[in-house]
């Protein structure tokens, strides 16, 4: 440590004013510097200059966001864009059209595959239909008769 001169002491107080204005002092130190500011016009002027400069920065120097093009470039480079990209209306329309096409095609194929295409198929289908009836053969008859025990 060097010998403390009035000038270095004053410099130290000025730096403490800055630290005070930046909220860096603990309560005891803050109270101490407040007393010094109240007693010393030079320190009070320093405090006022800090306030004025801070206001000038806040009013005239907006916190610009990152340019969107740069953000996109970074996200593309890192590989984030695919995960966060949103579908466009064209993509949505294409998806709907594809879904309709696939559904209708599969329905048609399903129905078509169930239809008998050959004579053998027709015979088998008739046979199955016959087995589904209550009688193995259907007898055409219009006569009514009563079965007596």
């Amino acid at each position: 440590m060097t010998n403390s001169t009035p000038s270095s002491s004053s410099d130290n107080s000025i730096q403490l004013v800055h630290a005070y204005m930046d909220g860096e002092l603990d309560l005891t130190a803050a109270l101490g510097i407040e007393e010094k500011i109240a007693a010393d016009p030079k320190l009070a002027a320093e405090r006022d200059r800090i306030i004025a400069l801070r206001e000038a920065v806040q009013q005239n120097l907006p916190r610009d966001p990152i340019p969107p093009t740069l953000q996109r470039r970074i996200e593309n480079t890192i590989g984030l864009r695919q995960e966060t990209s949103h579908p466009t209306w064209r993509t949505l329309a294409a998806s709907v059209a594809l879904a309709v096409l696939v559904t209708s095609s599969s329905t048609w194929l399903f129905l078509d595959s169930n239809a008998p295409k050959t004579m053998e198929g027709a015979i088998v289908a008739g046979h199955i239909r016959g087995l589904m009836a209550s009688q193995p053969t259907d007898v055409a008859s219009t006569e009514r008769h009563t079965v007596k025990p």
Binding site: I14, Q15, H18, A19, D22, G23, E24, R49, I50, A52, L53, R54, E55, A56, V57, Q59, N60, L61, P62, R63, D64, P65, I66, P67, L70, Q71, R73, I74, E75, T77, I78, G79, L80, E83, T84
Partner: protein, 179 residues
Amino acid sequence: MGAEEDNKARFARLITPYLSHAYRLARSITSSPTDAEDVVQEACLRAFRGINGVADANARAWLLTIVHHTACTWLRKNRPAALISVVDVAAVEAKQAKFDEQDADTPETALIAKSNRARLEAAIGSLSLPYRETFTLREVEGLNYREIAEITGVPIGTVMSRLSRARDQLDDMIERKRL
């Protein structure tokens, strides 16, 4: 694949919210929006490579530290003249005199608080790099002394003196315009 996906999600969660902070710091150091874009892109790549090593609570300071190092490296390589030492008072004064000449014909406008953006940016831009960076981190980004010391790699006492001198010089420049 899984680990890579985790890194991407981690980058999106921890780093993406602070990209604007990174850009403003890079612009402050390089004094150029175009150069700042190159610096931020390079810094983000470095951040992505080391994303596993960052604690959640420390992401902003961590990213800004990377931006600081990347920007200094970039300047050393591309514009070494921009890296004026703090002790090079003559060079700093020359830059400030240039700032004074820039719009010497401008009509005097009232108070500091009325300073327009261009003048303020020019004044900040004429500070030497350590002062400019420290001032930006404190007054624009709102970081505390400990965080600034961590990012710029200097003791807290140095942060205090840089901040005090940066404010003095800015105040003098703006005051000279006013007189």
